[in-house]
């Protein structure tokens, strides 16, 4: 079957105020191929795809579909040309069931063809291995399942061109593999797929062609067959920086001299999930100063509840949580933060960002009471601006000013705001939940290095992540959570992916092992 060019975008330019987000970009999508769209945070990937999907109107350039110039002004136009998009951030109605979400917008007139649709969705789910509970409310589903709902939702519309904007960033590696398999199959069935990601491994495993954007311009275009992994990493890093920590392999075993005083001590902590059953059960953990304790586990096994209980966002049902000997369970979130505890929440759009407020205001959120940013009554806006500027420079947040609204930032740059907020000062303790989600390679590396720096500055760090490579790269110990219980703790120097993987699946660590 000769590959047919489905979409051709030529000379696309898009400007937001002073920012030239796209600088005359050419891009093509071919049937039966997976086209990886890569580039640093804020490079313009999402913007380019939003233009194709009719969410943004390009200032210049043309879009051809199967060789004919078309004007795509709204997502409705795009869908009519069978172009579908899964967005970087979920757009599901959380009070609806999965199926209701999938059904949304498919009705003709006043009528849904619910029964026929249901069969269709079920068969698509089966064919591509995207299993979800169709009758569960979306808000009750773990993120991975929500991502599958998003994908089923667009597949139910028989797309010819499928745009996936960082679909794997909220998935565990296992879930990601399933999705990658599904994408491969979709391409085999003739679809043209655009796949945005920051992960080299994924690009190598499924992409056919690659376009790299940099600062709104095409920085490189190549076939996967002709590029090695090393060259790809270089391209994605934009040719700067030292080799990333992640590439350096797991942390070596520590000398016992590095052991600090206990910082956070959890004693038989149970946390309710709000649905009756408890999400965290009888957990005992201790994190020392100057130590990074990694928490591994498939998402939805109590990580979120654990983090929120430490931050007093959620009440621990029983047990004690002590930081430097002070009982946290009796405090409120504000008091915990002012003790010097930093927090990077998992859900950046839901729990993290204030979209209609400025970057400066976002960065100081949580510390607005501290004497460095206010006297008793009034904010010290100068100090806020200065601190924010430092954060913007430190973490390379792409913006024209700290007074810009945080809501217009690219996904990765929003994540960097949360990072800058947590690292505003040297913490006493840090709870970081998937801190590198959605970050480009350079930024991921920078964040991991910052975690290590916090640790070296004496902080205790609880790093919750679904990415084992990341955990092994910086953690001094890794504990594995399964169904809210600790399956075991592994020391640096004896990390074994298979052992940890088995514990993630619910196998308790044998006591004799260490």
């Amino acid at each position: 079957m000769p590959a047919e060019e489905l979409v051709r975008m030529t000379g696309i330019a898009k400007r937001f105020g002073d920012v030239l987000a796209l600088d005359h970009v050419d891009f093509g999508i071919t049937g039966g191929k997976v086209h990886a769209l890569l580039g640093e945070n804020g490079a313009g990937k999402t913007t380019l795809m939003n233009v194709l999907y009719g969410l943004y109107r390009a200032d210049e350039g043309r879009v051809e579909i199967k060789g004919k110039e078309m004007a795509i002004r709204t997502p409705r136009d795009a869908l009519r040309h069978r172009i579908a998009m899964v967005h970087q951030h979920f757009r599901l109605v959380s009070n609806f069931t999965s199926f209701e979400n999938i059904l949304l917008g498919t009705g003709r007139g006043l009528k849904f063809e619910a029964r026929a649709q249901r069969e269709k969705v079920e068969s698509i789910a089966r064919e591509y291995g995207l299993s979800v509970d169709l009758d569960a409310k979306v808000k009750a589903l773990p993120v991975g399942a929500q991502q599958r709902v998003e994908i089923l939702k667009v597949l139910a519309r028989d797309p010819l061109v499928l745009i996936l904007d960082e679909p794997t960033s909220s998935l565990t590696p296992q879930e990601a593999d399933v999705l990658l398999g599904a994408i491969k199959k979709l391409a085999m069935n003739g679809l043209g797929v655009v796949f945005i990601t920051h992960k080299v491994r994924e690009v190598m495993s499924i992409a056919d062609e690659i376009t790299v954007l940099n600062g709104g311009r095409v920085a490189g275009r190549l076939q996967v067959s002709e590029s090695g992994e090393k060259r790809l990493v270089e391209l994605m890093m934009g040719g700067r920086g030292a080799p990333p920590l992640l590439q350096a392999g797991p942390t070596p075993a520590r000398t016992s001299a590095a052991q600090g005083e206990p910082a956070l001590v959890l004693t038989s902590v149970s946390v309710g999930s709000g649905k009756g059953a408890s999400a965290v059960e009888e957990v005992d953990l201790a994190v020392r100063h100057g130590e990074i304790l990694g928490v591994a586990g498939v998402s939805g096994n109590g990580q979120r509840e654990l983090a929120e209980a430490i931050m007093c966002v959620r009440r621990a049902g029983s047990g004690s949580i002590k930081l430097d000997g002070i009982e946290l369970t009796r405090l409120n979130t504000k008091q915990v933060i002012s003790m010097g505890v930093g927090y990077i929440p998992e859900d950046r759009m839901g729990d993290g960002i204030l979209p209609s407020m400025t970057i400066a205001e976002n960065i100081v959120l949580g510390r607005e009471h501290s004497p460095s940013f206010s006297d008793r009554f009034a904010l010290n806006r100068k100090a806020m601006g200065a601190a924010a500027l430092r954060g913007v420079e430190d973490y390379n947040i792409k913006t024209t000013s700290v007074e810009a609204h945080a809501g217009v930032l690219s996904g990765g740059n929003v994540q960097k705001i949360l990072i800058a907020r947590a690292f505003l000062t040297q913490c006493k303790f840090l709870v970081a939940h998937n801190p590198t989600r959605g970050l480009d390679i350079a930024a991921t590396d920078h964040v991991l290095r910052s975690l290590v720096k916090q640790k070296e500055g004496g902080a205790g760090v609880l790093l919750i992540s679904e990415d084992l490579d990341e955990l092994m790269a910086v953690s001094d110990r890794i504990c594995v959570l399964f169904k809210g219980q600790v399956m075991g703790v592994v020391e640096a120097g004896s990390y074994d992916k298979y052992e940890i993987g088995a514990m993630m699946a619910g196998k308790k660590k044998e006591a004799s092992a260490s």
Partner: protein, 344 residues
Amino acid sequence: MNKDKKGDKLAAQVATYLIGVAAALAAAGVMLGLLGKNVAEGYSLLLTASFGSATNLSLFTIKFVPLLLMSLAFAIPLTLKKYNVGNEGQFLLGAVGAVTVAFMLSSLPALAAIPLLLIASAAFGAFWALFPALMLYKFRVNEIVSTILMNFISFYLVLYVATGPWRDPFAGHPETQAIPSAFDLPVLLTNPAINLGLVIAVLAPLASYYYIFRSVQGFELRASGANERAALVFGVNSNLLAPMSLVIGGAIAGLAGGMEVAGLQLRLVDGMQSNYAALSIIIALIAYGNPLGVIVSAIFITVIELGGSAMNAVMGVPVELVYVIEALLLLFILMANVFERRRR
């Protein structure tokens, strides 16, 4: 560059407002024309009714002052997406508080009387917002429902007080006697007539602006309005702030009611709340709750109100037309904003 950009944004915002205003005025002209009235005369009345003479200017401030304060009472809770539609009842309670103090402590000298009256009216207004605030805090009762119910109670409370021992038996309408003159707001100018009320009304939005945009607590109110969950996760106690903002709104509305008694009516009158509450909501929404914006939109709505009455009196234009224009104005401005956002 930073400054420029802010300027650009402001310019774009002003432009959308002007478009909305122009569209509403044009629609008003068309309707006047359809009614067979002289369109030019209508437009000129619109301006002269507020600013044409010293007397008219007095009329303008009489309406402007309570509208401005009522709008702030709505705008402050609006910062965290709470709708204080109870400002009407809070206004009336402020008026009740004013006459209560005036009659109970009738022998006080003016120097003590006036601050006491203002404090009492704010306290009464705050008190009226306290019930909905507590219900919101304890049981998450929707503040729109609870404050509307409080409005109904306040109507009867006013009737009760106005027909009680302080009533004016010679008035053909439920109202009290005049308060002792020591409690009248000091007059600063006689022609146009301007009293202390205008000074307070002009300071109030500046203070509110400072509170919302420059204070720590205002920061938390805005954070809560921007993303309640994120604010909560980072230690902002929205559960407490939201009820508190209602109480602050109540105090401001109460102050408006007290000043209406001490500066204009000089007594408690059944129905003295006029249509302030409805207009205040329009004013605050047009300004998106920004206290400085509220000044401008309050001036604008006052001008239209007075212009409308003048058109009614002079040209026989039905008063309903004024309501139509006000509604269109809100609609057009909101629409212009939507288009402004779409255009990208």
